[in-house]
């Protein structure tokens, strides 16, 4: 059983009659694997992440998507999250007035509730979050601020990784988490992702640059162009892309 399985996925923006962005995409990720998806701007990388996580505004017209054999297509976004799917956003959104800590607690509690697990008590939860924040070089003060409110680009991305480590999902999709980061921040993020990796979970790294893959070494690299995976290979494919650009493939 694959952890994540995408078969012949076709998806449009908007309704049934919208523009087709994903045009028959296939992908299988086994537990313990890290896959990278690379591709030029506008090739559909974020669309794939959005369709997998059930973001409104897209319509799946054909194909299937499943997590541990559970069909995702009929689940609400929060149910997909509860099933273990996590998306680190390319552009994390600000939620003024809701403190980061409050948000993290609400999220942890919702997931615990969905799994009939006990919700952590507030004191130990706060300790856990503070410790995580430190490992990601985030000032504990930021936990009191509104979610992503006034955060720098780098802080927003590290905040996504903090959530990844805290929620410990089965399947993590990281949408260009590396873009806009300086090299030090990139290392912190990569370290976080490597800490998250285990034999039981999977990672789908969406990136535009080979650079990230020096720090998070993928098992498989895919090239996405015009809504389809046109080539797959090992980590060397990324180096080749870096050297030659995308055009030699398309």
């Amino acid at each position: 059983m694959s952890l994540l399985e995408v078969k012949d996925l076709h998806a449009n923006v908007g309704e049934e009659d919208g523009q087709e962005i994903l045009k028959g995409l296939n992908l299988q990720i086994q537990a313990g694997e890290v896959h990278a998806i690379m591709g030029p701007n506008g090739s559909g990388k974020s669309t794939l992440a959005n369709v997998l996580s059930g973001r409104p505004g897209y319509t799946v017209t054909r194909g299937s998507l499943s997590l541990e054999s559970e069909d995702l297509s009929h689940l609400e976004p929060h149910e997909r999250a509860q099933a273990g799917l996590f998306l680190a956003f390319q552009y994390p959104v600000e939620i003024p007035g809701v403190s980061n800590m409050e948000f993290l607690k609400a999220s942890t509690d919702s997931l615990a509730k969905a799994h009939n697990a006990e919700q952590p008590d507030a004191a130990s939860f706060i300790r856990q979050v503070r410790t995580l924040a430190e490992t990601l070089d985030l000032d504990p003060q930021f936990l009191k601020r509104g979610v992503n409110e006034g955060f720098s680009g780098g802080e927003k991305k590290r905040n996504e990784i903090l959530q990844l480590l805290l929620l410990d999902p089965k399947m993590a999709i990281l949408d260009e988490t590396d873009s806009g980061l300086d090299i030090d921040a990139l290392k912190v993020v990569a370290e976080g992702v490597n800490r998250y990796r285990s034999a039981n979970n999977g990672v789908l790294l969406i990136t535009h640059y080979q650079r990230l893959l020096d720090y998070i070494v993928p098992d498989v690299v895919h090239v996405l162009a015009d809504g389809q995976i046109i080539q797959s290979g090992d980590k060397n494919l990324a180096l080749e892309l870096e050297a030659k650009g995308y055009t030699w493939l398309t």
Binding site: S53, G54, R55, P56, G57, E76, P77, H78, A81, Q82, F86, L87, F89, P92, V93, E94, I95, P96, G97, V98, S99, E102, F103, A106, S107, S110, L111, A114, G146, V147, Q163, L167
Partner: protein, 493 residues
């Protein structure tokens, strides 16, 4: 035993959970209003002649007045002759007695509402934790037109605090009532205040003596039960020099298809160095999602900082009523006196609210703060209307106003009508306003972390209201949050 909070009102249910009807035999006047009706009400309450005359005078003035047409509200004309102006549960016809004699049916009603009427039980420790501030709330309950019971009377009396139905205060403390009734909201202040002055039924009376810090929160619950009755309660709170009191008002009404009128008057008087904190959690029946039924809430609330350094603070969480017309205000007459207004007004479905405040600066160095948060969902419409007036005498007056609107969905409306009248050039007046929307991206970000949309909306709305909730007495802040959650159900998705 439940606490005197809005717990049960907000029990996580989809429908308005306070919407049950109590089956008690009532003594109700037929609809209609004339001088005889007023004399009947006054006689029923065994009132002194001066009060009967006062009512009649108000009635005559009311007849000359017309309904305000300036609010941003749309509703069919109210037929004031189709309303009954007096309703009392029959067994209470002789006025409130001891709790043991209260109709058990009524007691059950209030139990359902989460109000512990049974003083005995409360004192005997059925509310077990003495550390819990909520076990330390004295409650007056007004059912339709009559005050049913006031708890903790003795403990308050020991502190010299008077907390009783106003109908009782008229007899036991006529000098206070005579002196202050209508002193802040004159009979002819406005159409609804005049009507209230003519027909007011009951309400609470509070007097805190000089230098006394009221030993507990005071609280009144209002409930409209009878069909086609109006509720016209009258509350009068006097804080004598150097005293302090915190007062909370809650309200509910059964679900009914027809609209019911509520026109209350609340007057606060804070003498030198006195402080009154008045909090409201207004949860009158809002009508159904198509706008059928619901309470028309036309309320006049005003406080007078009569002495130097007096402070009056209004905090309101308004989630109920089909129509809300309400501007809790402060007249800052004493030098260095302080007025505050913290408000959350939430409208959903077809609800309409036109609410805000008036801060009237007269004394020197008077300060006022206004924080108004409006949340509109569904097809509702919410307006903030605020007046800051600085008289020539109010040197160095200061006002800060912050007025924020949050929209949920595309069909609702939010409006802001700030009025500033400044006649003193040493005054400093600041105004900030913002409008934001709960965005689809925010909702998706929450959902992607496992939080469903209803919870997400309530979390965002609660965050938006934080500055106001902070001002509520502790045990009610949590309830206010839950109340918003219930009121917003179905607002998204």
């Amino acid at each position: 035993m439940s606490q005197p909070s809005v717990d049960d009102l907000v029990a996580a249910r989809r429908e308005y959970s306070a919407g049950f009807i109590t089956d008690v035999e009532a003594d109700t006047l037929p609809p209609g209003l004339n001088e005889d009706v007023i004399r009947f009400i006054s006689a029923r309450k065994d009132e002194p002649d001066w009060l009967t005359e006062w009512r009649l005078q108000a009635y005559r003035q009311w007849q000359e007045m017309s309904e305000p047409d300036w609010p941003h509200l749309h509703y069919p004309k109210i037929s004031f002759q189709d309303i009954s102006y007096y309703s009392a549960p029959k067994s209470q016809a002789d006025g409130p007695r001891s709790l043991d004699e209260v109709d058990p049916e009524l007691l059950r009603t209030y139990e359902k509402l989460g109000i512990p009427l049974h003083e005995q039980a409360a004192l005997a420790g059925v509310v077990p934790d003495p550390e819990q501030p909520s076990s330390n709330v004295a409650v007056d309950v007004v059912f339709d037109s009559v005050s049913i019971a006031t708890t903790f009377k003795q403990k308050l009396a020991d502190a010299g605090v008077i907390f009783c139905p106003i109908s009782e205060a008229v007899k036991s403390h006529p000098e206070l009532v005579k002196k202050y009734l209508g002193s802040v909201v004159p009979q002819r202040d406005n159409f609804y205040a005049a009507l209230n002055s003519a027909v007011f039924s009951d309400g609470s009376f509070v007097y805190i003596p000089k230098g006394v810090r009221c030993p507990m929160e005071l609280s009144t619950y209002f409930r409209i039960n009878e069909r086609n009755t109006g509720q016209f309660e009258r509350t009068l709170i006097i804080a004598d020099a150097g005293s302090h009191v915190s007062y909370l008002e809650g309200c509910t009404a059964p679900m009914r298809d027809e609209n019911q009128l509520h026109a209350a008057v609340v007057e606060l008087v804070a003498l030198e160095d006195a402080e009154i904190k008045y909090s409201t959690v207004q949860n009158w029946y809002p009508g159904d999602e198509n706008g059928r039924g619901g309470i028309y809430n036309f309320v006049t609330k005003r406080g007078l900082c009569a002495g130097a350094r007096a402070k009056i603070s209004w905090t309101q969480v308004e989630t109920g009523s089909a129509i809300t017309w309400k501007y809790p205000s402060v007249v800052l007459r004493g030098d260095d006196s302080v007025g505050e207004f913290y408000s959350v007004a939430l409208t959903n479905n077809r609800q309409q609210a036109d609410t805000g405040t008036k801060m009237i600066h007269m004394g020197k160095n008077t300060r006022s703060t206004i924080v108004a948060k409006g949340i509109s969902a569904g097809r509702s419409d919410s307006s903030y209307r605020g007046l800051v007036r600085v008289s020539p005498t109010a040197a160095h007056a200061r006002n800060f106003t912050q007025c924020d609107s949050l929209l949920i969905g595309d069909l609702c409306g939010a409006h802001t009508f700030p009025y500033i009248e400044n006649k003193n050039n040493t005054a400093i007046i600041e105004h900030e306003a913002s409008t934001s929307k709960v965005s689809d991206d925010q909702l998706f970000a929450c959902q992607q972390r496992g939080i469903d949309t209803e919870k997400a909306v309530s979390m965002i709305v609660n965050g938006f209201c934080k500055e106001v909730f902070r001002e509520l007495p502790m045990e009610f802040a949590v309830e206010a949050g839950k109340l918003l959650e219930v009121s917003l159900e179905g607002a998204v998705g």
